[in-house]
Symmetry: C2
Subunit: 339 residues, 2 copies
Amino acid sequence: MRQQKRATIVDVGRSAGVSTKTVSRVFNGEPHVSDSIRQRVRAAAEALNYHPNVMARALVQRRSNLIGLVYENPSSSYVTELQMGVLHRLRGERYRLVVIPIESVAEHAGEVVALLRSAGLDGVVLAPPASDDARILNDLASAGIRCARIAPTRLLDAAPGATVDDVVAAREIAAYLIDLGHRDIAIIKGDPTHASAEARLLGYSQAFHAAGLALRLDRIEPGLFTRDSGYEAAMRLLARPDRPTAILAQNDEMAVGALIAARECGLGVPHDLSIVGFDDSDVARIAWPAITTVRQPVFDMAVAAADMVVAQLEGGLAETLRAHDHALVVRGSAAAPSA
Amino acid sequence: MRQQKRATIVDVGRSAGVSTKTVSRVFNGEPHVSDSIRQRVRAAAEALNYHPNVMARALVQRRSNLIGLVYENPSSSYVTELQMGVLHRLRGERYRLVVIPIESVAEHAGEVVALLRSAGLDGVVLAPPASDDARILNDLASAGIRCARIAPTRLLDAAPGATVDDVVAAREIAAYLIDLGHRDIAIIKGDPTHASAEARLLGYSQAFHAAGLALRLDRIEPGLFTRDSGYEAAMRLLARPDRPTAILAQNDEMAVGALIAARECGLGVPHDLSIVGFDDSDVARIAWPAITTVRQPVFDMAVAAADMVVAQLEGGLAETLRAHDHALVVRGSAAAPSA
DNA sequence: CATCCCTATGACAACGTTGACAATGCGAGC
DNA sequence: GCTCGCATTGTCAACGTTGTCATAGGGATG
């Protein structure tokens, strides 16, 4: 049973004895169609197994009903949660979600919007670091593609977004470690192309200064927000003769990496080494010990961002920023230093 | 700088002094265009900031270049890995991935293809349990949407897919527990609407019988392949006076749930209770103790399935099944029973 | 009873591209 | 020099919808 030449609106019209326009009206739930005709059209459509052609509709209406999610590091649970948030908002709506992974936003910023254009998207949700890329925001505007951003830190007036205060959150979790009694705290930094890496570092340093501690550059190890990079960075830190008593990882994935590294070095967490993360992503709960972290409401931010895109597409609503709260989540991966 | 009336192919043609057809040829890399004209057209397009209209193209060519991924349980790392596999295969190609989460395939099978139609997809990758749904396969064929299936177990001739031998894999991991010395083994079953739940159960029972053990129905707890359902099921099992010495969870998510339940019951894993999973998903590595499981090459299967969809779309290639190997992955969550 | 307005319906062009086919021009073979 | 073939370019319709505007009829209004 190979499909035979999909029926068109013309066929339905002919079969029901009405004009194509009337069929169109029926299928779009428009008023000004008598019930009898409405029924007749539906019956004819059913009989012919008619289904509207989305592309033709998209062409004439100039909207594809496709919304994109642009992100960089596909394996992270951060992105998974973002996606779930966007899908949650889009559920039941006519919009579909297209996922657009970009290998390196920093390197390919110029090509990103061309890619989105070639997908015919109506709007996009930009995850970091694309959410902070001036080039992308600019191209998007001139391409007429609506957007909303996740955790933007710069150009806050350029486009709407769901924000979170990285600096304060980072300050709080660093203060938590200091309050526990830690004085020698190392930092595993995130991908430097993400603005939040700097913001979180700033928060840490504020907490350090408030406690009269110095921010030692030799205690900062670079990472990329990936589990592997966290593992590597922790290995470098723990191999030193004067290893720190605690590690501030700039996200949970890297904290998990550090956890694995500690395990391999024979260090008990939190007894021999405290580790804290950032984000409160899924992995923080699964890991053992479960990771003490700062909750970023990623899911909610994604819902909000998707909502902003939809709002622009439907009503052309005013563009705004929506602030989201963080919260310290104390679990088992940090304790007072043993020595 | 609001965008001004996107330039069309007609504008470019006029500006370059050639016909629209020639412009079309240039943008599609077709032969039979002289270099001088090719250059002239490109320059004109550049000057006008022309970008082809994907929807018009899609309409006339009858292909949207959209491929869908249909799945049910969005939070699972299984789906995340599937998605990464599909994206990996599609990278650099002209196809885009649209994610189609379905709340309950069993309940909404009739509406699924309508949803796919309304997204204008050219093809889809079906994850379980959609991959085993006769209604969906049938509707898909009559809608002319190509598909490939992940881990199909029924109607193997109906459509191509990437298969894995659930029965044998399940038999192997059950045999592993038995070899360790376990005699009282409980089972946490997966979502009964997924055919693999039955297949894995069959594999377990084969191993039991080979060892002269009975498959006790009162040792089988229902689950849904989700972490929470695994937690609940394990709680029920561990609350009993005669708790088992080992648990066979039908996937890793549920094994993680069981792990958390054991922890809350004050049971050490693997000392007091052995737990094994299925899939070798991401969480199995992160959990502590890391979960002993059977590796299903989910990523590779997704790559293969995506490949099959693309192949059908490009060449109309012959439809086949591709078998993928499993492998026992021994980690720390199972050991010989202590008593 | 004439007028007006509103509902129900249809005719036709437009959306921006590509496919089928025609036309042109130029060099080669005879 | 004439014909043939091929490379190059163009013309026009088609893809399947929806938007705009026109038209016919049927009360309500005066």
